[in-house]
């Protein structure tokens, strides 16, 4: 039997696991649900505590991962069934029809101009539109188009076909069918990442009701130079640039009422980063962060907070906060509590650090693989102290946020760690 591993999830944890394995000469099948690998990290503008440009450092890894001779990157696909045991798993992968021949498409983009359908872009958190034929973002890997069949009017109504006419490579095939692949692997790594909790139901923050209340992920896209506003911070209500920003922490997290009593472990840092970046964009930006505990507890993090206070004028207020709105100018009003006295303050924009939650699909995957999940949906390790990432199913390992809150370096370390564990498991199972 040949040594091969399946990695499920093409975010940074999955990419790292894949590269570590492929570099060891092991064949890797990387299954990614969306049309491109890259995951959440591709959406971030900068990364704390160095303010490195996120896509700049990620893109080379994505390219390496895709072009590695030992990797087989299967995008737009999902795992739907597993049989067998460590050393000899048989995995069923449903490769959804993307209606574009990946071997023919050169990603030139001529079809895009001709497509008449506009759909809110998932990658841009709905802040701008994409077409029905699209790549999720500029640096997408593989750089091939995908037609989303829900929105393509050729597929739904049978009229249009503009993209097909525009494509000189004849890469478009409206007849394409979903494909079921069966892949044999010695072990499996699950790295399905996280979702951002939708705070619409928690009315005290006014998200979805007050136009100038944003989630952190939306803000992250907005400040990105390649994002929907070309890096300009602007209000939904009047397109004006705000100067007074409020960041509210623990929105839906550390909150048993909404079912996420845990701490997401990254929000104190990303809000601080976002506040710093506002000031980097414009000198007159004033940011206030409302927090419960400032959890800045990894290498260089506390220093980062100190720098935010000292050099970027970020104000930290230790208080819970809720949001109301001044109906005249759509300015959000933050109501908070200091020293037992309720106070309120008007801002131009509010950014919510919403809870980060395991993806819904992760639970389905857990069922397929026979993995245990905790009450919140995070996948559980069998040995929580010394063997994080090892599961109750021999040969199946975890990495990244799907296994519990983790920041980028932790996800990378877990990706590498899962790769080592996968190799050990296969060696033990005799799958050499």
């Amino acid at each position: 039997m040949e040594k091969s591993v399946m990695v499920i999830g093409g975010g940074i944890a999955g990419i790292q696991a894949s590269l570590d394995l492929a570099d060891k000469g092991i064949i890797v099948h990387l299954v990614e649900k969306s049309p491109s690998i890259g995951g959440r990290m591709a959406q971030l503008d900068k990364t704390f505590p160095t303010n490195d440009c996120s896509i700049c450092i990620l893109a080379p890894k994505m390219a390496d991962c895709f072009s590695h001779p030992n990797t087989n990157v299967i995008t737009y696909a999902e795992v739907v069934g597993v049989e067998g045991k460590v050393g000899a798993f048989k995995v069923k992968v449903l490769k959804k029809a993307r209606f574009v021949d990946e071997t023919m498409c050169t990603g030139c983009g001529e079809c895009l101009e001709k497509c008449p359908v506009k759909v809110p872009s998932e990658f841009e958190m709905g802040l701008s539109n994409r077409k029905a034929i699209y790549t999720p973002f500029m640096q997408a890997v593989p750089r091939v188009m995908t037609i989303d069949k829900e929105n393509c009017i050729m597929i739904t109504k049978g009229k249009c076909g503009n993209c097909k006419k525009a494509c000189k490579r004849e890469a478009i095939d409206f007849e394409m069918k979903d494909q079921m692949l069966e892949i044999e692997v010695g072990s499996i790594i699950v790295a399905t990442g996280f979702d951002s909790w939708n705070p619409t139901t928690s009315t005290e923050y006014g998200y979805g009701r007050y136009p100038n209340v944003y989630t952190a992920m939306e803000y992250e896209r907005m400040i990105n130079a390649a994002g929907p506003t070309h890096g300009h911070i602007e209000r939904r209500s009047d397109k004006k640039r705000p100067t007074k920003l409020a960041f509210i922490q623990c929105v839906g997290s550390r909150n048993p009422q909404v079912g996420h009593p845990y701490c997401c472990a990254v929000c104190c840092m990303h809000s601080t980063k976002e506040a710093m970046l506002a000031r980097e964009h414009h000198d007159d930006m004033e940011s206030t962060i409302f927090y419960k505990d400032m959890r800045a507890c990894a290498k260089g993090f506390w220093e980062y907070i100190e720098r935010a206070k000292r050099d970027y004028g970020v104000r930290y207020l230790n208080s819970d906060a809720t949001v109301q709105e001044n109906p005249e100018n759509h300015n959000p009003i933050v109501v908070y509590d200091v020293g037992g006295r309720q106070q309120s303050e008007e801002f131009d924009m509010v950014v919510l650090a919403t809870a980060l939650i395991p993806r819904k699909e992760t639970l389905e995957l857990a069922k397929i693989l026979g993995l245990k999940a905790d009450e919140f949906g995070f996948l559980e390790s069998s040995d929580r102290i010394l063997g994080m990432g090892r599961t109750n199913v021999p040969g199946v390992f975890l990495a990244g946020y799907a296994a519990g809150p983790a920041d980028i370096p932790e996800s990378v370390a877990q990706g590498s760690s899962a790769a080592a564990k996968a190799v050990e498991a296969m060696a033990l199972a005799g799958g050499a």
Binding site: I12, Q16, D23, K24, G25, P49, T50, I57, L58, K61, A63, S67, M104, T106, C108, E110, K168, R169, R254, P261, Y262, C263, A265, D293, R295, A296, C297, A298, K299, G300, F301, W302, E303, E306, N318, G339, G340, D374, R384, I385, L386, G387, M388, G404, P405, A406, I408, P409, E410, V412, A413, Q414, G415, S416, S417, A419, A420, K421, E424, A427
Partner: protein, 624 residues
């Protein structure tokens, strides 16, 4: 090291250049007059063939390159299309498949850098495209074939440090099939964890928890254990390190390893002069407290105060030590829930604190003070009587904190549990820290109540100071020996805080656990497995192959000044036995810093020589 001779083309062989200009559908063709550009390319020096393709990257385009190489005997290929950042590997592979060394290929970007950014100026865009190709051809004429150097890797690992991180890394490498030397300076394995009572999330003792790991390490056929040993010297580079290990009372052991994992751990900061430590009785650090619990030798207690961030977060050290809140919470819950089990021995022998391993790092003078204090406490000098307390039914625990760092799922839930278990959390600011003092025979803590804006005080029987982890005292020596950097706080510095958390910038050396900064046992073990995974890569491959974009030193010009060694971020330059600089090709990344720095201009960068760059740039400056 075997310096592979770089193959040179016959210098007399005249360049025969083929130029392929791509339309990229209408992406280029719509804004640049591609056929005329291809025609122009034919007029350039040494160009023997030029053509245009609808899509050069498509199979028919690639075929035309292969055919061109054969038919026209091309020895250089220029493709003018999109960006090398995505497409260079494809064309290089194509050239190689037709027998042309991939370093004889040149990419010219006329899409991202031309047609797409000059969509309204077709004529000027066409002129620019011509110019860019002219530059590419000028560069191509000077290209030389390069051989990528392969260096064999000794498939044996070295792990420095026998704590949880080191053991995990060693065992992982062993289980992946590689022999490993595990070097531990103490007489037994286990490291810092040996001091601890239990590990949070479990009630099992710390020693019991790591016992299976220790046993597996000892039983592993692939692990060669060196206890009471230290690494004395390390010379070499990735795949080829010559290591000398010194053991107490034994001869030095010399061995060769391919990769090295550093897992040397950390110490606990000793809070001399803070909060009455060493001044009043019953003031201990978090680890000392753990030892007391572990030995079941806690004195009788009614009120315990934990003070967090003692010396950390901008005081003695700038950082937050990550784990102390959670360790304090664990201990708080322990003594509330399980107090009786930890009592006992203390009353019998009157011992407050037994030897704490970290003391070995404490200067003698401080040790002396502490000994005297203990003497006092035992009543030897009769100065201060130990505080006598009756057994308590109820125990009060207060945690003075700045922020409770209960990150993630487990810690936050434990934090909630602690509050349910009557553990009080009182927040203080660095401007208003709590104070520890004696009122008669009573130990007291006073603090400023932030909500009530009032000073308050409370009697306590014991104060536990949560002090940060600090780097091992020999970190600097280790960093010099291995030529790996330390960060500002003295921790080992990884290659990239985000994406390379367990790599050093120098290939072949990896880092994990608390020697790179505070981490709990789970994180340390994860990093250790990660470091093992990274270290296994070159060993599994059996070789390292460097892209031929490295620096080359001219022996005749080099004066041995050593500037290049100073500026190289990868430790890829070294002095040879003649005292002259030499590139460790396997470690070089080709940035060119040494080349631009060398005062004697003795260093050239393969494939990016001065001559090539100048020819490329100057081609556009020539008068037409």
């Amino acid at each position: 090291m075997t310096m592979a001779e770089t193959k040179k083309t016959d210098p007399n062989e005249k360049p025969r250049i083929g130029v392929y200009v791509c339309h990229c559908g209408s992406n280029i063709g719509g804004f640049v007059d591609v056929p005329s550009v291809a025609e122009y390319a034919k007029t350039l020096p040494d160009v023997v063939y030029a053509t245009d393709n609808l899509y050069t990257c498509a199979e028919d385009g690639l075929t035309s390159i292969r055919e061109g190489i054969r038919k026209h005997n091309l020895n250089r290929v220029v493709v003018a299309s999109c960006t090398p950042r995505t497409h260079a590997p494809l064309f290089q592979t194509t050239c190689e498949s037709a027998g042309l060394n991939k370093y004889l290929f040149t990419f010219v970007n006329i899409r991202e850098h031309c047609s797409w950014v000059h969509m309204k100026e077709k004529e000027k865009a066409t002129l620019k495209a011509r110019d860019l190709i002219k530059m590419g051809v000028a560069r191509a004429r000077l290209l030389m074939p390069q051989e990528e150097e392969k260096v064999d890797v000794e498939p044996t690992g070295l792990v420095i440090g026998g704590g949880v991180s080191g053991m995990t890394a060693a065992l992982s490498l062993a289980d992946m099939g590689f022999p490993v030397h595990l070097v531990e300076k103490e007489g037994e394995l286990g490291g810092f964890v040996r001091n601890l009572n239990n590990l949070y999330v479990t009630e099992k003792s710390a020693t019991e928890t790591i016992k299976p790991l220790i046993e597996k390490v000892k039983a592993s056929k692939n692990v060669k254990l060196h206890l009471n040993s230290q690494v004395k010297s390390v010379e070499g580079f990735i795949g080829n390190y010559d290591v000398v290990m010194a053991s107490k009372g034994a001869e030095d052991i010399k061995t060769k390893v391919g990769t090295i994992v550093v897992a040397t751990g950390a110490l606990e900061f000793v809070p001399e002069g803070l909060y009455g430590y060493n001044q009043y009785p019953n003031i201990v650090t978090l680890t000392e407290f753990e030892i007391l619990c572990k030995k079941k030798s806690l004195p009788s207690l009614k009120n315990v105060a934990f003070i967090q961030c003692v010396g950390s977060r901008g005081q003695k050290v700038s950082y937050c030590s990550r784990i102390c809140c959670n360790v304090a919470i664990k201990n708080a819950i322990n003594i509330v829930d399980n107090y009786e089990n930890m009592l006992g021995l203390a009353e019998k022998n009157g011992t407050i604190i037994d030897t704490v391993p970290v003391e070995k790092k404490v200067p003698d003078e401080i040790l002396e003070r502490r000994r005297r204090r203990r003497g006092r406490e035992r009543g030897e000098e009769g100065e201060a009587e130990e505080v006598k307390l009756g057994p308590s039914e109820k125990i009060e625990v207060t945690v003075f904190n700045r922020d409770v760092m209960a990150y993630g799922v487990e810690h936050e839930l434990t934090y909630n549990k602690a509050r349910e278990h009557r553990v009080k959390f009182v927040r203080y600011t660095p401007e208003n820290p709590p104070k520890v003092f004696m009122e008669g025979n009573q130990l007291m803590v006073s603090y400023f109540h932030e909500t009530l804006k009032l000073d308050r005080s409370m009697p306590v029987d014991m104060v536990v100071l949560s002090t940060p982890m600090v780097p091992q005292l020999d970190t600097r020596e280790m960093s010099q020996m291995l030529k790996v950097p330390q960060g500002q706080d003295g921790w080992f510095l990884e290659a990239h805080v985000k994406l390379r958390p367990v790599d050093f910038a120098t290939d072949g050396i990896y880092v994990c656990g608390t020697c790179k900064g505070p981490a709990d046992i789970t994180e340390a073990a994860t990093q250790a497995a990660a470091a093992a995974s990274r270290a296994a890569i070159p060993m599994a491959k059996g070789y390292v192959q460097a892209e031929a974009l490295t620096s080359v030193v001219d022996d005749i010009k080099c004066s041995g000044c050593g500037t290049c060694i100073q500026v190289c971020p990868y430790g890829a330059m070294r002095k040879n036995d003649k005292g002259l600089a030499e590139t460790i090709v396997a470690a070089c990344k080709g940035c060119g810093c040494c080349g631009a720095t060398c005062p004697e201009m003795a260093i050239t960068m393969t494939n990016y020589t001065d001559a090539q760059l100048l020819a490329e740039a100057k081609a556009t400056l020539e008068e037409v």
